[in-house]
């Protein structure tokens, strides 16, 4: 057995240039496989990471509309404070859509085409709302708990609302009128990760909303949890907010990890695997081709071995082992190339490379298997060569 391996190794290494060219197909195939699967996994990882940050940490609590009669409940004003006591909550804030009747929003009374103002949505929130939805400011500042308690008439504008109203700076303390009440604009939102309607609205502190529009209770509580804590918080939130009647609260939480994400990943991977398989098929055909060529070239060697007492089986196994070695080497090189490719692209795109260890270990073996399959026909062909024919030539 050891001798067969030695003979096969010697046979393979006799023509180094050819060895390199022969492995090339497998190298490319395995590299394509490892690279595409690696990049697929990496990319899927990135998609889910982004997905996670936006959605997987968001929990929303609302009164349950379907709750009947007395059971109907309202969110307490101190819901954010109660929720923040839970371990795993990063930020929380209330959100309410205000019923402003026919009140329209104008920036400065009586200016040109916006004399009648715009029917913008007016909203109210607690100071923690902005943090809870990961709001980013274009300019100015958010309102804080001070504005809230003092019932200051200040607003933060969503960026679309600000564009309509023609406000792009806040350093001159511009005012907007909601109905006939003036409010000072202190900030303009640039983006949010949840509750996108904030970008279209005019947001005032709860204090001002209570005074101006007699807001009785918040519509919803926005909670931003730590990564992975959303499920836990979703379970605890109703009890923390309303211990007497937790079932009257409706909690929206991200789906449990897995499910959707796995589906997407397996779709991607199936496509990539198919690509890799095609490349491998080409690589295997390459090995088969070159091994067959090598058999024809080494007819006299085969004849000699037979004359020296090799049975047909010995000859077949030698060529089989040779092509397995070629396949394995190709697999090894291809795996290295594929891993480097994954790491390189990840580095370039600033991703975290993700690669299955099973893939890295299994790929060279897959190469060997391809070598085995590719070598079967040439090996059989070699073993069928009659020593007489082989030795008759020069």
């Amino acid at each position: 057995m050891r001798d067969l391996l030695d003979e096969a190794l010697a046979g393979v290494s006799a023509r180094p240039t050819r060895l390199v060219l022969t492995t090339l197909g497998t190298v490319l195939g395995i590299a394509a496989l490892v690279g595409t699967v690696g990049l697929g996994q990496t990319a899927a990882g990135q998609i889910t990471q982004r997905f996670d940050l936006a959605a997987a940490t968001r929990v929303v609590v609302q009164p349950d509309d379907k709750a009947e009669g007395e059971a109907a409940t309202q969110l307490p004003w101190d819901a954010p404070e109660r929720i923040k006591r839970l371990n795993g909550v990063d930020a929380a804030g209330t959100f309410s859509l205000l019923d402003v009747g026919d009140d329209r929003v104008r920036s400065v009374a009586g200016i040109g085409g916006q004399k009648d103002g715009y029917a913008l949505q007016v909203m109210a929130g607690s100071a923690g709302l902005f943090d809870a939805v990961r709001a980013q400011l274009r300019t100015g500042r958010f309102f804080d708990a001070g504005h809230d308690t003092r019932t200051d008439r200040v607003v933060v504008l969503g960026k679309h609302a600000a564009e309509k109203l023609g406000i792009n700076r806040v350093d001159s303390q511009p005012a907007v009128f909601i109905g006939d009440q003036a409010y000072t604009v202190i900030g303009i939102l640039d983006g949010v990760s949840g509750r996108a309607e904030l970008l279209d609205g005019v947001i005032m502190p709860n204090g001002a909303a209570k005074t101006a529009y007699e807001l009785e209770a918040p519509d919803a509580l926005e909670i931003r949890t730590q990564v992975g804590a959303a499920q836990l918080i979703a379970g605890q939130a109703p009890v923390a907010i309303d211990p007497n009647n937790p079932s009257a609260l409706k909690v929206d939480a991200p789906p449990v990890q897995g499910g959707v994400r796995k589906g997407v990943e397996s779709d991607l991977n199936a496509l990539f695997l198919l690509l890799g398989a095609v490349a491998l098929l080409v690589g295997g055909l390459g090995i088969a081709n070159v091994t067959l060529l090598s058999v024809l070239e080494r007819v006299s060697e085969i004849g000699l071995r037979r004359a020296l007492g090799a049975a047909r089986r010995h000859v077949a196994v030698q060529f089989l082992v040779e092509s397995v070695i070629v396949g394995f080497l190709g697999g090894l090189l291809g795996t290295a190339v594929g891993v480097l490719l994954t790491i390189g692209v990840s580095w370039f795109r600033d991703w975290t490379p993700i690669l299955d260890t099973g893939l890295a270990v299994g790929s060279p073996l897959l190469g060997a298997l391809i070598g085995l399959l590719a070598g079967t026909y040439p090996a059989w062909k070699a073993s069928a060569i009659q020593p007489i024919t082989a030795l008759r030539g020069t």
């Binding site: 010697a10 290494s13 006799a14 004359a307 020296l308 007492g309 090799a310 047909r312 020593p387």
Partner: protein
């Protein structure tokens, strides 16, 4: 059997004949056509231990076919071939391969050395398939190379050697497995006269040491060096 009788009755006869290595009785080899080729048309041949026999004949006389039959590279269509007393016609391919590796050493006209292996490895190769342990193979290959005067070329590649040296490597390879019969097919065909002479001298030495040799050639000069000559014409032997 007359030969057995001769051996058993060795005390009675004046000279006890050595045991036969090769016994061919009524061997024929036809290649199915069309047209059918009757390469060997019935040969009786005995080669005894220590004999140096040459088989000479023009091309097309069937001498290559006879060589293949003798070397167990081919099977007779008809007749009996016993090698060292073993009837080979009933053997299966695998067993014949083993017998071939153990009992017959081949020397070819075109040397058939592996270019990518060293001289030493080429010689050791003939012991791979007969199950000689690795370490012993190398030691024996060295001894065989020393015997043919190539101790200084062991680690060289065959391509760096002259034709005569290559054929000596091939002879070393044929001898190292200690065969019963050394079978040479036009061993000097690719060599100049000086190198050919050197090879024939090696054969003489081997004969003197008791090796059984069968040399197949078309060259009368080579043929005459043998102790006994047979001529093959049209698939039959002429004495």
């Amino acid at each position: 059997m007359t030969t057995d009788a001769a051996r058993l009755g060795g005390v009675a006869t004046a000279v006890a004949l050595p045991a036969p290595v090769v016994e061919m009785i009524g061997v024929r080899r036809f290649f199915p056509g069309p047209p059918e080729v009757r390469a060997i048309k019935g040969i009786d041949l005995t080669i005894r231990e220590g004999e140096y026999l040459s088989i000479v004949g023009p091309s097309g006389s069937g001498k290559s076919t006879l060589l293949h039959l003798l070397g167990l590279l081919d099977n007779p269509s008809d007749g009996v071939y016993r090698l060292d007393g073993v009837d080979t016609s009933s053997l299966r391919e695998r067993r014949r391969a083993v017998l071939r590796g153990e009992r017959i050493g081949f020397v070819f006209q075109s040397f058939h050395l592996l270019d990518h292996r060293t001289v030493l490895e080429n010689v050791a190769l003939s012991m791979v398939y007969v199950g000689v342990p690795r370490r012993e193979r190398m030691a024996r290959a060295r001894v065989a190379l020393e015997r043919v005067g190539l101790a200084h070329r062991m680690e060289f590649g065959p391509r760096t050697l002259s034709g005569g040296e290559r054929q000596r490597v091939a002879i070393a390879r044929a001898l190292v497995a200690e065969p019963s019969l050394l079978l040479a097919d036009e061993p000097t065909g690719n060599l100049d006269s000086a190198n050919a002479e050197a090879i024939l001298e090696v054969f003489d030495e081997l004969h003197a040491e008791g090796m059984t040799l069968a040399v197949i050639t078309h060259d009368d000069h080579v043929s005459r060096r043998a102790q006994r000559q047979v001529r093959i014409v049209d698939g039959t032997l002429q004495w």
